[in-house]
Protein backbone atom coordinates (compact mmCIF):
# COMPACT_ATOMS: atom_id res chain seq x y z
CA UNK A 1 0.00 0.00 0.00
CA UNK A 2 2.68 2.46 -0.87
CA UNK A 3 0.57 5.27 -2.12
CA UNK A 4 1.54 8.72 -3.08
CA UNK A 5 -1.75 10.19 -4.03
CA UNK A 6 -2.38 13.81 -3.52
CA UNK A 7 -4.13 14.88 -0.45
CA UNK A 8 -7.72 15.95 -0.66
CA UNK A 9 -8.28 19.10 -2.62
CA UNK A 10 -4.97 19.65 -4.30
CA UNK A 11 -4.19 20.33 -7.91
CA UNK A 12 -0.88 21.53 -9.18
CA UNK A 13 -0.77 23.45 -12.41
CA UNK A 14 0.48 21.37 -15.32
CA UNK A 15 -0.32 18.14 -13.54
CA UNK A 16 -4.05 18.53 -13.22
CA UNK A 17 -4.79 15.16 -14.86
CA UNK A 18 -2.37 13.37 -12.61
CA UNK A 19 -3.61 15.31 -9.62
CA UNK A 20 -7.11 14.17 -10.53
CA UNK A 21 -5.97 10.54 -10.66
CA UNK A 22 -4.45 10.91 -7.25
CA UNK A 23 -7.73 11.92 -5.67
CA UNK A 24 -9.23 8.98 -3.82
CA UNK A 25 -12.71 9.55 -5.18
CA UNK A 26 -11.71 9.56 -8.84
CA UNK A 27 -12.28 5.83 -9.22
CA UNK A 28 -15.69 6.05 -7.62
CA UNK A 29 -16.66 9.03 -9.79
CA UNK A 30 -15.53 7.26 -12.97
CA UNK A 31 -17.48 4.18 -11.95
CA UNK A 32 -20.56 6.25 -11.35
CA UNK A 33 -20.34 7.87 -14.79
CA UNK A 34 -19.93 4.50 -16.50
CA UNK A 35 -22.86 2.93 -14.68
CA UNK A 36 -24.98 6.01 -15.26
CA UNK A 37 -24.29 5.92 -19.01
CA UNK A 38 -24.90 2.18 -19.13
CA UNK A 39 -28.31 2.39 -17.50
CA UNK A 40 -29.07 5.66 -19.21
CA UNK A 41 -28.69 3.82 -22.50
CA UNK A 42 -30.41 0.55 -21.65
CA UNK A 43 -33.09 2.23 -19.59
CA UNK A 44 -33.83 5.02 -22.04
CA UNK A 45 -37.01 3.40 -23.31
CA UNK A 46 -38.39 3.00 -19.84
CA UNK A 47 -37.73 6.54 -18.62
CA UNK A 48 -34.68 5.91 -16.46
CA UNK A 49 -33.47 9.42 -17.15
CA UNK A 50 -36.71 11.29 -16.46
CA UNK A 51 -37.17 13.21 -13.25
CA UNK A 52 -39.48 10.57 -11.91
CA UNK A 53 -37.19 7.75 -12.97
CA UNK A 54 -34.23 9.36 -11.30
CA UNK A 55 -36.18 9.79 -8.11
CA UNK A 56 -36.66 6.05 -7.73
CA UNK A 57 -32.96 5.39 -7.35
CA UNK A 58 -32.14 8.72 -5.70
CA UNK A 59 -34.70 8.11 -2.96
CA UNK A 60 -33.33 4.66 -2.39
CA UNK A 61 -29.74 5.94 -2.47
CA UNK A 62 -30.48 8.70 0.02
CA UNK A 63 -31.50 6.26 2.74
CA UNK A 64 -28.48 4.05 2.22
CA UNK A 65 -26.32 7.14 1.84
CA UNK A 66 -27.22 8.76 5.15
CA UNK A 67 -25.98 5.63 6.91
CA UNK A 68 -23.11 4.93 4.53
CA UNK A 69 -21.24 8.14 5.31
CA UNK A 70 -20.78 7.44 9.04
CA UNK A 71 -20.10 3.78 8.21
CA UNK A 72 -17.40 5.15 5.93
CA UNK A 73 -16.01 7.21 8.82
CA UNK A 74 -15.86 4.09 10.95
CA UNK A 75 -14.18 2.14 8.18
CA UNK A 76 -11.60 4.88 7.75
CA UNK A 77 -11.05 4.63 11.49
CA UNK A 78 -10.57 0.88 11.09
CA UNK A 79 -13.95 -0.24 12.45
CA UNK A 80 -17.26 -1.64 11.25
CA UNK A 81 -20.81 -1.21 12.49
CA UNK A 82 -23.40 -3.74 11.42
CA UNK A 83 -25.84 -3.00 14.24
CA UNK A 84 -27.38 -0.33 11.98
CA UNK A 85 -29.64 -3.06 10.62
CA UNK A 86 -31.51 -3.03 13.92
CA UNK A 87 -31.17 0.70 14.55
CA UNK A 88 -33.20 1.65 11.50
CA UNK A 89 -36.35 -0.01 12.85
CA UNK A 90 -35.45 1.11 16.37
CA UNK A 91 -35.58 4.74 15.23
CA UNK A 92 -38.93 4.23 13.55
CA UNK A 93 -40.67 2.46 16.42
CA UNK A 94 -39.26 4.73 19.12
CA UNK A 95 -40.60 7.72 17.22
CA UNK A 96 -43.95 6.05 16.55
CA UNK A 97 -44.38 4.96 20.16
CA UNK A 98 -43.25 8.30 21.54
CA UNK A 99 -45.89 10.10 19.51
CA UNK A 100 -48.75 7.61 19.41
CA UNK A 101 -48.35 5.93 22.77
CA UNK A 102 -46.91 8.67 24.95
CA UNK A 103 -48.44 11.61 23.14
CA UNK A 104 -45.19 13.42 22.63
CA UNK A 105 -44.59 16.22 20.20
CA UNK A 106 -43.07 14.80 17.02
CA UNK A 107 -39.83 16.73 17.44
CA UNK A 108 -39.52 15.53 20.98
CA UNK A 109 -40.07 12.04 19.61
CA UNK A 110 -37.27 12.57 17.11
CA UNK A 111 -35.05 13.73 19.94
CA UNK A 112 -35.92 10.65 22.00
CA UNK A 113 -35.20 8.43 18.99
CA UNK A 114 -31.80 10.05 18.49
CA UNK A 115 -31.00 9.79 22.18
CA UNK A 116 -31.88 6.10 22.28
CA UNK A 117 -29.76 5.50 19.18
CA UNK A 118 -26.93 7.58 20.60
CA UNK A 119 -27.01 5.46 23.75
CA UNK A 120 -26.79 2.24 21.74
CA UNK A 121 -23.93 3.72 19.71
CA UNK A 122 -22.25 4.68 22.96
CA UNK A 123 -22.53 1.11 24.21
CA UNK A 124 -21.05 -0.14 20.92
CA UNK A 125 -18.18 2.30 21.24
CA UNK A 126 -17.52 1.50 24.89
CA UNK A 127 -17.50 -2.24 24.21
CA UNK A 128 -15.12 -1.86 21.27
CA UNK A 129 -12.71 0.49 23.02
CA UNK A 130 -12.71 -1.25 26.39
CA UNK A 131 -12.59 -4.90 25.36
CA UNK A 132 -10.55 -4.95 22.14
CA UNK A 133 -13.12 -7.36 20.72
CA UNK A 134 -13.33 -6.62 16.97
CA UNK A 135 -16.16 -4.22 16.19
CA UNK A 136 -17.62 -6.70 13.71
CA UNK A 137 -18.33 -9.09 16.57
CA UNK A 138 -19.44 -6.42 19.04
CA UNK A 139 -21.92 -4.89 16.62
CA UNK A 140 -23.06 -8.32 15.46
CA UNK A 141 -24.05 -8.94 19.06
CA UNK A 142 -25.73 -5.57 19.51
CA UNK A 143 -27.49 -6.06 16.16
CA UNK A 144 -29.32 -9.02 17.62
CA UNK A 145 -29.73 -7.50 21.07
CA UNK A 146 -31.35 -4.39 19.64
CA UNK A 147 -33.43 -6.43 17.19
CA UNK A 148 -34.72 -8.45 20.14
CA UNK A 149 -35.38 -5.32 22.17
CA UNK A 150 -37.28 -3.77 19.27
CA UNK A 151 -39.70 -6.69 19.13
CA UNK A 152 -39.96 -7.16 22.88
CA UNK A 153 -40.48 -3.49 23.75
CA UNK A 154 -43.04 -3.15 20.95
CA UNK A 155 -45.05 -6.09 22.17
CA UNK A 156 -44.84 -5.08 25.80
CA UNK A 157 -45.61 -1.42 25.35
CA UNK A 158 -47.90 -1.33 22.34
CA UNK A 159 -48.99 -4.94 21.98
CA UNK A 160 -47.92 -5.01 18.33
CA UNK A 161 -44.86 -4.98 16.10
CA UNK A 162 -46.55 -2.76 13.54
CA UNK A 163 -46.94 0.80 14.77
CA UNK A 164 -48.93 3.46 13.07
CA UNK A 165 -47.75 7.04 13.02
CA UNK A 166 -50.37 9.52 11.91
CA UNK A 167 -49.47 12.80 10.22
CA UNK A 168 -48.76 15.23 12.99
CA UNK A 169 -47.96 18.52 11.38
CA UNK A 170 -47.08 20.07 8.07
CA UNK A 171 -43.56 21.09 9.04
CA UNK A 172 -42.49 17.71 10.36
CA UNK A 173 -43.99 15.97 7.34
CA UNK A 174 -42.21 18.37 5.03
CA UNK A 175 -38.84 17.96 6.71
CA UNK A 176 -38.92 14.28 7.55
CA UNK A 177 -41.19 12.40 5.26
CA UNK A 178 -42.83 13.83 2.19
CA UNK A 179 -42.46 13.89 -1.59
CA UNK A 180 -41.08 17.06 -3.09
CA UNK A 181 -41.20 18.35 -6.63
CA UNK A 182 -39.88 21.49 -8.27
CA UNK A 183 -41.30 22.58 -11.58
CA UNK A 184 -40.23 25.87 -13.11
CA UNK A 185 -42.08 27.93 -15.67
CA UNK A 186 -45.70 27.94 -16.77
CA UNK A 187 -47.80 25.43 -18.68
CA UNK A 188 -46.18 25.38 -22.15
CA UNK A 189 -42.51 25.48 -21.28
CA UNK A 190 -42.29 23.91 -17.92
CA UNK A 191 -39.00 22.53 -16.74
CA UNK A 192 -39.14 19.79 -14.16
CA UNK A 193 -36.10 20.15 -11.93
CA UNK A 194 -37.04 17.21 -9.75
CA UNK A 195 -40.12 15.23 -9.02
CA UNK A 196 -41.22 13.08 -6.11
CA UNK A 197 -37.96 13.24 -4.24
CA UNK A 198 -38.36 12.18 -0.65
CA UNK A 199 -37.35 14.37 2.27
CA UNK A 200 -34.56 11.92 3.02
CA UNK A 201 -32.82 13.00 -0.17
CA UNK A 202 -32.50 16.55 1.11
CA UNK A 203 -31.51 15.34 4.55
CA UNK A 204 -28.78 13.33 2.82
CA UNK A 205 -27.46 16.45 1.09
CA UNK A 206 -27.33 18.49 4.29
CA UNK A 207 -25.85 15.59 6.24
CA UNK A 208 -23.23 14.95 3.54
CA UNK A 209 -22.12 18.58 3.65
CA UNK A 210 -21.79 18.43 7.42
CA UNK A 211 -19.84 15.19 7.18
CA UNK A 212 -17.60 16.58 4.47
CA UNK A 213 -16.76 19.39 6.82
CA UNK A 214 -16.02 16.98 9.67
CA UNK A 215 -13.74 14.69 7.68
CA UNK A 216 -11.96 16.98 5.27
CA UNK A 217 -12.16 20.53 6.54
CA UNK A 218 -12.27 20.46 10.32
CA UNK A 219 -8.95 19.81 12.05
CA UNK A 220 -10.20 16.68 13.75
CA UNK A 221 -11.03 14.96 10.46
CA UNK A 222 -7.31 14.30 10.49
CA UNK A 223 -7.72 12.34 13.70
CA UNK A 224 -10.04 9.84 12.05
CA UNK A 225 -7.49 9.09 9.34
CA UNK A 226 -4.64 8.94 11.83
CA UNK A 227 -6.58 6.55 14.05
CA UNK A 228 -7.27 4.23 11.11
CA UNK A 229 -3.71 4.53 9.84
CA UNK A 230 -1.97 3.62 13.10
CA UNK A 231 -4.06 3.70 16.23
CA UNK A 232 -1.19 3.45 18.68
CA UNK A 233 0.73 6.27 17.05
CA UNK A 234 -2.42 8.35 16.98
CA UNK A 235 -2.91 7.80 20.70
CA UNK A 236 0.74 8.63 21.34
CA UNK A 237 0.31 11.80 19.31
CA UNK A 238 -2.32 12.92 21.81
CA UNK A 239 -5.41 12.10 19.76
CA UNK A 240 -8.25 10.94 22.05
CA UNK A 241 -8.78 7.77 20.05
CA UNK A 242 -11.27 6.12 22.40
CA UNK A 243 -13.53 9.12 22.70
CA UNK A 244 -13.37 9.67 18.96
CA UNK A 245 -14.28 6.08 18.23
CA UNK A 246 -17.24 6.18 20.62
CA UNK A 247 -18.43 9.38 18.92
CA UNK A 248 -18.24 7.69 15.52
CA UNK A 249 -20.31 4.72 16.71
CA UNK A 250 -22.85 7.16 18.11
CA UNK A 251 -22.96 8.99 14.80
CA UNK A 252 -23.62 5.83 12.77
CA UNK A 253 -26.32 4.65 15.19
CA UNK A 254 -28.04 8.04 15.12
CA UNK A 255 -27.85 8.23 11.33
CA UNK A 256 -29.48 4.79 11.06
CA UNK A 257 -32.22 5.79 13.49
CA UNK A 258 -32.81 8.99 11.53
CA UNK A 259 -33.37 6.96 8.37
CA UNK A 260 -35.85 4.78 10.24
CA UNK A 261 -37.68 7.87 11.43
CA UNK A 262 -37.94 9.38 7.94
CA UNK A 263 -39.33 6.07 6.69
CA UNK A 264 -41.87 5.97 9.51
CA UNK A 265 -43.07 9.52 8.88
CA UNK A 266 -43.27 8.90 5.15
CA UNK A 267 -45.14 5.59 5.37
CA UNK A 268 -47.15 6.47 8.49
CA UNK A 269 -46.14 3.13 9.93
CA UNK A 270 -43.14 1.68 11.66
CA UNK A 271 -42.23 -1.97 11.87
CA UNK A 272 -39.74 -3.85 14.00
CA UNK A 273 -38.42 -5.83 11.03
CA UNK A 274 -34.62 -5.83 11.16
CA UNK A 275 -33.12 -4.54 7.92
CA UNK A 276 -30.32 -7.02 7.36
CA UNK A 277 -30.06 -5.95 3.74
CA UNK A 278 -29.06 -2.45 4.72
CA UNK A 279 -25.98 -3.79 6.49
CA UNK A 280 -24.61 -5.07 3.21
CA UNK A 281 -25.89 -2.11 1.24
CA UNK A 282 -24.05 0.42 3.35
CA UNK A 283 -20.80 -1.55 3.33
CA UNK A 284 -20.99 -1.99 -0.45
CA UNK A 285 -21.53 1.75 -0.96
CA UNK A 286 -18.54 2.61 1.20
CA UNK A 287 -16.21 0.12 -0.43
CA UNK A 288 -17.35 1.01 -3.96
CA UNK A 289 -16.69 4.60 -2.90
CA UNK A 290 -13.01 3.84 -2.46
CA UNK A 291 -12.77 3.65 1.33
CA UNK A 292 -10.10 1.19 2.34
CA UNK A 293 -11.54 -1.71 4.35
CA UNK A 294 -8.38 -1.79 6.46
CA UNK A 295 -8.75 1.87 7.39
CA UNK A 296 -6.83 5.10 7.02
CA UNK A 297 -8.08 6.08 3.60
CA UNK A 298 -11.29 7.34 2.01
CA UNK A 299 -13.45 10.38 1.30
CA UNK A 300 -17.01 11.56 1.76
CA UNK A 301 -17.30 12.36 -1.95
CA UNK A 302 -16.19 8.83 -2.81
CA UNK A 303 -18.81 7.35 -0.52
CA UNK A 304 -21.47 9.52 -2.15
CA UNK A 305 -20.44 8.37 -5.63
CA UNK A 306 -20.39 4.81 -4.37
CA UNK A 307 -23.90 5.20 -3.01
CA UNK A 308 -25.21 6.74 -6.24
CA UNK A 309 -23.66 3.95 -8.26
CA UNK A 310 -25.13 1.34 -5.97
CA UNK A 311 -28.52 3.05 -6.10
CA UNK A 312 -28.56 2.92 -9.89
CA UNK A 313 -27.50 -0.70 -10.07
CA UNK A 314 -29.97 -1.73 -7.37
CA UNK A 315 -32.96 0.05 -8.83
CA UNK A 316 -31.91 0.58 -12.44
CA UNK A 317 -32.56 -2.94 -13.58
CA UNK A 318 -36.28 -2.21 -13.39
CA UNK A 319 -35.81 0.31 -16.18
CA UNK A 320 -34.08 -2.12 -18.51
CA UNK A 321 -35.17 -5.22 -20.33
CA UNK A 322 -32.70 -7.34 -18.38
CA UNK A 323 -34.11 -10.10 -16.25
CA UNK A 324 -34.65 -8.86 -12.71
CA UNK A 325 -33.08 -11.99 -11.35
CA UNK A 326 -29.75 -10.66 -12.57
CA UNK A 327 -29.88 -7.81 -10.04
CA UNK A 328 -27.76 -9.41 -7.36
CA UNK A 329 -25.28 -10.65 -9.93
CA UNK A 330 -24.90 -7.07 -11.13
CA UNK A 331 -24.28 -5.85 -7.60
CA UNK A 332 -21.67 -8.50 -6.95
CA UNK A 333 -19.92 -7.69 -10.20
CA UNK A 334 -20.06 -4.00 -9.39
CA UNK A 335 -18.41 -4.55 -6.05
CA UNK A 336 -15.62 -6.61 -7.57
CA UNK A 337 -14.98 -4.22 -10.44
CA UNK A 338 -15.09 -1.19 -8.16
CA UNK A 339 -12.60 -2.63 -5.72
CA UNK A 340 -10.22 -3.59 -8.52
CA UNK A 341 -10.60 -0.17 -10.10
CA UNK A 342 -9.94 1.66 -6.84
CA UNK A 343 -6.82 -0.42 -6.36
CA UNK A 344 -5.66 0.34 -9.87
CA UNK A 345 -6.19 4.04 -9.36
CA UNK A 346 -4.18 3.94 -6.18
CA UNK A 347 -1.28 2.14 -7.86
CA UNK A 348 -1.45 4.41 -10.87
CA UNK A 349 -1.12 7.38 -8.60
CA UNK A 350 1.90 5.83 -6.91
CA UNK A 351 3.85 5.32 -10.10
CA UNK A 352 2.85 8.71 -11.41
CA UNK A 353 4.21 10.32 -8.32
CA UNK A 354 7.47 8.40 -8.20
CA UNK A 355 8.45 9.32 -11.73
CA UNK A 356 7.80 12.90 -10.84
CA UNK A 357 9.95 12.74 -7.73
CA UNK A 358 13.20 12.72 -9.72
Amino acid sequence: MADTQRDQGSAVGGFSILALFRRPETGAAAGFILIFLFFGYFGWERNFLTALGSSTWLNFASKVGIIAIPIGFLMIAGELDISVGALIPAGGIVLAMSVELFGMNIWLGVLVGLLVAGLIGYVNGMLVTRTNVPSLIVTLATLFVVAGLNAYASKQLAGTTQHSLQDVGAVSEFVLGDYHSLVLGSDENRITIFRSLQSSFFIWIVFAIACFYILHVAPWGNWIFAMGGDEESARNAGIPTNRLKIALFMLSAMAAALVGMTEAVLANTASTTTQFGMIFNTIICVVVGGVLLTGGFGTVAGTIFGTLTFGIVFQGINFTTFDKDLNLLFIGALLLVAVLMNDTFRNLATSASTTRKK
Binding site: M1, A2, D3, T4, Q5, R6, D7, G9, S10, V12, Y213, H216, V217, A218, P219, W220, G221, N222, W223, F225, A226, G229, D230, E232, S233, A234, R235, N236, A237, G238, I239, P240, L292, G296, F297, T350, S353, T354, K357
Partner: protein
Amino acid sequence: MPDNATVLEMRGVDKSFGPIDVLHEISLKVNEGEVLCLLGDNGAGKSTLIKTLSGVHQPTRGEMLMDGKPVNFVRPKDAQDMGIATVHQFGGTYPLMSIGRNFFAGAEPTRGWGPFKVFDRRKANAIAVEQVRKFGITGIDDGDRLVGGLSGGERQSLAIARAVYFGARVLILDEPTAALGVKQAAHVLRIVNEAKRRGLAVVFITHQVMHAMAVGDHFTVLIRGAIAADFRKGEKTREEIADLMAGGESMADLEADIEGYMETHEGHPPPPVH
Protein backbone atom coordinates in the same frame (compact mmCIF):
# COMPACT_ATOMS: atom_id res chain seq x y z
CA MET B 1 30.40 20.70 35.69
CA PRO B 2 27.49 21.71 37.87
CA ASP B 3 24.10 20.20 37.29
CA ASN B 4 21.77 22.27 35.21
CA ALA B 5 18.22 22.84 36.41
CA THR B 6 16.21 19.63 36.45
CA VAL B 7 13.22 19.67 34.12
CA LEU B 8 11.81 16.19 34.48
CA GLU B 9 12.44 13.77 37.30
CA MET B 10 11.41 10.24 38.23
CA ARG B 11 11.46 9.20 41.88
CA GLY B 12 11.25 5.53 42.73
CA VAL B 13 9.08 4.70 39.75
CA ASP B 14 7.89 1.12 39.31
CA LYS B 15 5.92 -0.03 36.31
CA SER B 16 4.13 -3.34 36.04
CA PHE B 17 1.81 -4.68 33.39
CA GLY B 18 -0.42 -6.92 35.44
CA PRO B 19 1.92 -9.53 36.88
CA ILE B 20 4.88 -8.49 34.72
CA ASP B 21 7.21 -6.08 36.50
CA VAL B 22 9.07 -4.08 33.90
CA LEU B 23 10.60 -1.14 35.78
CA HIS B 24 11.96 -1.24 39.33
CA GLU B 25 12.72 1.77 41.49
CA ILE B 26 13.71 4.08 38.67
CA SER B 27 15.00 7.44 39.84
CA LEU B 28 16.51 9.75 37.31
CA LYS B 29 16.74 13.39 36.37
CA VAL B 30 16.56 14.99 32.97
CA ASN B 31 18.33 18.33 33.05
CA GLU B 32 17.95 21.41 30.97
CA GLY B 33 20.56 21.68 28.24
CA GLU B 34 21.73 18.12 28.70
CA VAL B 35 21.38 14.84 26.86
CA LEU B 36 20.51 11.83 28.95
CA CYS B 37 21.47 8.66 27.13
CA LEU B 38 19.36 5.69 28.10
CA LEU B 39 21.25 2.50 27.39
CA GLY B 40 20.45 -1.15 27.78
CA ASP B 41 19.91 -4.48 26.09
CA ASN B 42 16.77 -5.42 24.20
CA GLY B 43 13.87 -5.74 26.59
CA ALA B 44 15.63 -3.83 29.36
CA GLY B 45 12.69 -1.46 29.69
CA LYS B 46 13.95 1.65 27.91
CA SER B 47 10.86 2.15 25.79
CA THR B 48 8.63 1.50 28.77
CA LEU B 49 10.51 4.14 30.72
CA ILE B 50 10.16 6.84 28.09
CA LYS B 51 6.53 5.90 27.50
CA THR B 52 6.00 6.61 31.18
CA LEU B 53 7.78 9.93 30.82
CA SER B 54 5.57 10.86 27.87
CA GLY B 55 2.25 9.92 29.43
CA VAL B 56 1.54 6.75 27.44
CA HIS B 57 1.88 4.66 30.62
CA GLN B 58 1.27 5.70 34.18
CA PRO B 59 3.71 4.65 36.92
CA THR B 60 2.49 1.81 39.12
CA ARG B 61 4.36 3.33 42.06
CA GLY B 62 6.56 6.34 42.60
CA GLU B 63 6.23 9.84 41.36
CA MET B 64 7.22 12.09 38.53
CA LEU B 65 8.08 15.76 38.85
CA MET B 66 8.31 18.51 36.31
CA ASP B 67 10.20 21.63 37.41
CA GLY B 68 10.11 20.20 40.93
CA LYS B 69 6.33 19.89 41.04
CA PRO B 70 4.60 16.52 41.02
CA VAL B 71 2.88 15.75 37.74
CA ASN B 72 0.47 13.02 36.74
CA PHE B 73 0.29 12.43 33.02
CA VAL B 74 -2.96 10.60 32.44
CA ARG B 75 -2.64 10.68 28.68
CA PRO B 76 0.05 11.64 26.14
CA LYS B 77 -1.63 14.98 25.57
CA ASP B 78 -0.90 16.00 29.16
CA ALA B 79 2.82 15.52 28.60
CA GLN B 80 2.67 17.27 25.24
CA ASP B 81 0.93 20.24 26.75
CA MET B 82 3.88 20.62 29.11
CA GLY B 83 6.30 20.71 26.20
CA ILE B 84 7.40 17.07 26.11
CA ALA B 85 7.70 15.70 22.58
CA THR B 86 8.46 12.06 21.92
CA VAL B 87 9.50 9.99 18.93
CA HIS B 88 8.50 6.45 19.77
CA GLN B 89 10.44 3.46 18.59
CA PHE B 90 7.80 2.27 16.17
CA GLY B 91 5.21 3.99 14.06
CA GLY B 92 4.70 7.70 14.37
CA THR B 93 3.67 8.18 10.76
CA TYR B 94 0.54 7.30 8.82
CA PRO B 95 1.25 5.88 5.33
CA LEU B 96 -1.97 6.97 3.66
CA MET B 97 -1.90 10.54 4.92
CA SER B 98 -0.07 13.44 3.38
CA ILE B 99 3.20 14.77 4.74
CA GLY B 100 1.51 17.90 6.01
CA ARG B 101 -1.27 16.00 7.75
CA ASN B 102 1.20 13.53 9.24
CA PHE B 103 3.35 16.26 10.63
CA PHE B 104 0.48 17.93 12.43
CA ALA B 105 -1.58 14.88 13.43
CA GLY B 106 -3.10 15.70 16.79
CA ALA B 107 -1.96 19.34 16.69
CA GLU B 108 -3.54 20.65 13.52
CA PRO B 109 -3.08 24.28 12.57
CA THR B 110 -6.39 25.96 11.92
CA ARG B 111 -7.82 29.09 10.49
CA GLY B 112 -11.37 30.39 10.62
CA TRP B 113 -13.50 31.34 13.55
CA GLY B 114 -15.61 29.88 16.32
CA PRO B 115 -16.69 26.29 15.91
CA PHE B 116 -16.04 26.41 12.16
CA LYS B 117 -12.33 25.87 12.30
CA VAL B 118 -10.66 24.86 9.10
CA PHE B 119 -7.55 22.69 8.83
CA ASP B 120 -4.94 25.01 7.37
CA ARG B 121 -3.52 22.70 4.74
CA ARG B 122 -1.24 25.24 3.13
CA LYS B 123 0.38 26.22 6.39
CA ALA B 124 0.71 22.60 7.50
CA ASN B 125 2.34 21.60 4.23
CA ALA B 126 4.71 24.57 4.16
CA ILE B 127 5.95 24.02 7.71
CA ALA B 128 6.20 20.25 7.32
CA VAL B 129 8.21 20.46 4.11
CA GLU B 130 10.48 23.13 5.53
CA GLN B 131 11.17 21.15 8.71
CA VAL B 132 11.80 17.89 6.87
CA ARG B 133 14.11 19.55 4.37
CA LYS B 134 16.09 20.92 7.29
CA PHE B 135 16.86 17.31 8.04
CA GLY B 136 18.60 16.90 4.74
CA ILE B 137 15.65 15.13 3.12
CA THR B 138 15.80 17.46 0.15
CA GLY B 139 13.80 15.17 -2.15
CA ILE B 140 10.63 16.35 -0.47
CA ASP B 141 9.04 19.48 -1.83
CA ASP B 142 5.37 18.63 -1.83
CA GLY B 143 3.46 18.49 1.45
CA ASP B 144 0.55 16.75 -0.24
CA ARG B 145 2.53 13.61 -1.00
CA LEU B 146 1.42 10.58 0.93
CA VAL B 147 3.92 9.37 3.47
CA GLY B 148 3.52 5.76 2.30
CA GLY B 149 5.60 6.69 -0.73
CA LEU B 150 8.58 7.78 1.38
CA SER B 151 11.43 5.54 2.43
CA GLY B 152 11.68 4.24 5.98
CA GLY B 153 14.43 6.70 6.82
CA GLU B 154 12.52 9.59 5.32
CA ARG B 155 9.53 8.66 7.45
CA GLN B 156 11.72 8.45 10.53
CA SER B 157 13.15 11.87 9.75
CA LEU B 158 9.64 13.22 9.45
CA ALA B 159 8.76 11.87 12.88
CA ILE B 160 11.89 13.39 14.41
CA ALA B 161 11.41 16.71 12.67
CA ARG B 162 7.92 16.75 14.11
CA ALA B 163 9.13 16.16 17.67
CA VAL B 164 11.85 18.77 17.34
CA TYR B 165 9.26 21.22 16.08
CA PHE B 166 6.82 20.57 18.94
CA GLY B 167 9.24 19.81 21.77
CA ALA B 168 9.40 23.02 23.72
CA ARG B 169 11.18 21.72 26.84
CA VAL B 170 11.88 18.01 26.61
CA LEU B 171 12.75 15.95 23.56
CA ILE B 172 12.55 12.16 23.88
CA LEU B 173 13.96 10.04 21.08
CA ASP B 174 13.61 6.25 21.16
CA GLU B 175 16.22 4.78 18.82
CA PRO B 176 15.86 7.61 16.35
CA THR B 177 18.90 6.64 14.31
CA ALA B 178 17.98 2.98 13.86
CA ALA B 179 16.54 3.35 10.37
CA LEU B 180 18.75 6.15 9.18
CA GLY B 181 21.59 6.42 6.73
CA VAL B 182 24.99 7.71 7.82
CA LYS B 183 24.24 11.23 6.70
CA GLN B 184 20.79 11.39 8.28
CA ALA B 185 22.01 9.77 11.50
CA ALA B 186 24.77 12.36 11.73
CA HIS B 187 22.14 14.95 11.19
CA VAL B 188 19.98 13.65 14.01
CA LEU B 189 23.01 13.83 16.30
CA ARG B 190 23.60 17.39 15.18
CA ILE B 191 19.94 18.18 15.86
CA VAL B 192 20.23 16.68 19.33
CA ASN B 193 23.26 18.84 20.06
CA GLU B 194 21.45 21.86 18.71
CA ALA B 195 18.41 21.14 20.91
CA LYS B 196 20.76 20.83 23.88
CA ARG B 197 22.39 24.13 23.06
CA ARG B 198 18.97 25.75 22.97
CA GLY B 199 18.41 24.54 26.52
CA LEU B 200 16.11 21.59 25.89
CA ALA B 201 16.36 18.49 28.00
CA VAL B 202 16.93 15.49 25.74
CA VAL B 203 16.42 11.79 26.44
CA PHE B 204 18.16 9.70 23.83
CA ILE B 205 17.95 5.94 23.40
CA THR B 206 20.41 4.15 21.17
CA HIS B 207 22.20 0.84 20.73
CA GLN B 208 25.15 2.49 19.01
CA VAL B 209 28.07 3.39 21.25
CA MET B 210 29.33 5.98 18.80
CA HIS B 211 26.02 7.78 18.78
CA ALA B 212 25.76 7.68 22.55
CA MET B 213 29.28 9.03 23.00
CA ALA B 214 28.72 11.73 20.42
CA VAL B 215 25.86 13.43 22.21
CA GLY B 216 25.51 12.07 25.75
CA ASP B 217 26.24 14.20 28.81
CA HIS B 218 24.81 11.72 31.22
CA PHE B 219 24.37 7.97 30.84
CA THR B 220 21.89 5.70 32.54
CA VAL B 221 22.10 1.98 31.95
CA LEU B 222 19.06 -0.20 32.46
CA ILE B 223 19.41 -3.90 33.08
CA ARG B 224 16.21 -5.89 33.42
CA GLY B 225 14.24 -2.84 34.39
CA ALA B 226 16.56 -1.47 37.07
CA ILE B 227 19.22 1.18 36.88
CA ALA B 228 22.54 -0.67 36.78
CA ALA B 229 24.85 2.25 36.17
CA ASP B 230 24.58 5.98 36.14
CA PHE B 231 27.51 8.15 35.20
CA ARG B 232 28.52 11.34 33.49
CA LYS B 233 30.41 11.88 30.29
CA GLY B 234 34.10 11.09 30.70
CA GLU B 235 33.62 8.92 33.75
CA LYS B 236 33.71 5.72 31.76
CA THR B 237 35.59 4.64 28.70
CA ARG B 238 33.97 3.73 25.48
CA GLU B 239 34.69 0.07 26.13
CA GLU B 240 33.03 0.16 29.50
CA ILE B 241 29.98 1.78 28.01
CA ALA B 242 29.83 -0.80 25.26
CA ASP B 243 29.87 -3.58 27.84
CA LEU B 244 27.16 -2.00 29.87
CA MET B 245 25.07 -1.65 26.76
CA ALA B 246 25.61 -5.33 26.02
CA GLY B 247 23.69 -6.12 29.19
CA GLY B 248 26.52 -5.95 31.75
CA GLU B 249 25.71 -9.39 33.09
CA SER B 250 29.29 -10.55 33.03
CA MET B 251 31.14 -7.32 33.38
CA ALA B 252 34.22 -8.96 34.86
CA ASP B 253 34.46 -11.50 32.06
CA LEU B 254 33.95 -8.86 29.47
CA GLU B 255 36.60 -6.69 31.03
CA ALA B 256 39.00 -9.60 31.16
CA ASP B 257 38.19 -10.31 27.54
CA ILE B 258 38.95 -6.77 26.61
CA GLU B 259 42.24 -6.81 28.48
CA GLY B 260 43.14 -10.08 26.86
CA TYR B 261 42.25 -8.69 23.50
CA MET B 262 44.35 -5.61 24.06
CA GLU B 263 47.35 -7.69 25.14
CA THR B 264 47.25 -9.80 22.02
CA HIS B 265 46.46 -6.86 19.76
CA GLU B 266 49.27 -4.51 20.65
CA GLY B 267 47.15 -2.44 22.98
CA HIS B 268 44.32 -1.88 20.53
CA PRO B 269 40.81 -1.98 21.98
CA PRO B 270 38.29 -4.36 20.46
CA PRO B 271 35.90 -2.94 17.89
CA PRO B 272 32.77 -1.49 19.42
CA VAL B 273 29.96 -3.88 20.13
CA HIS B 274 26.74 -3.00 18.41
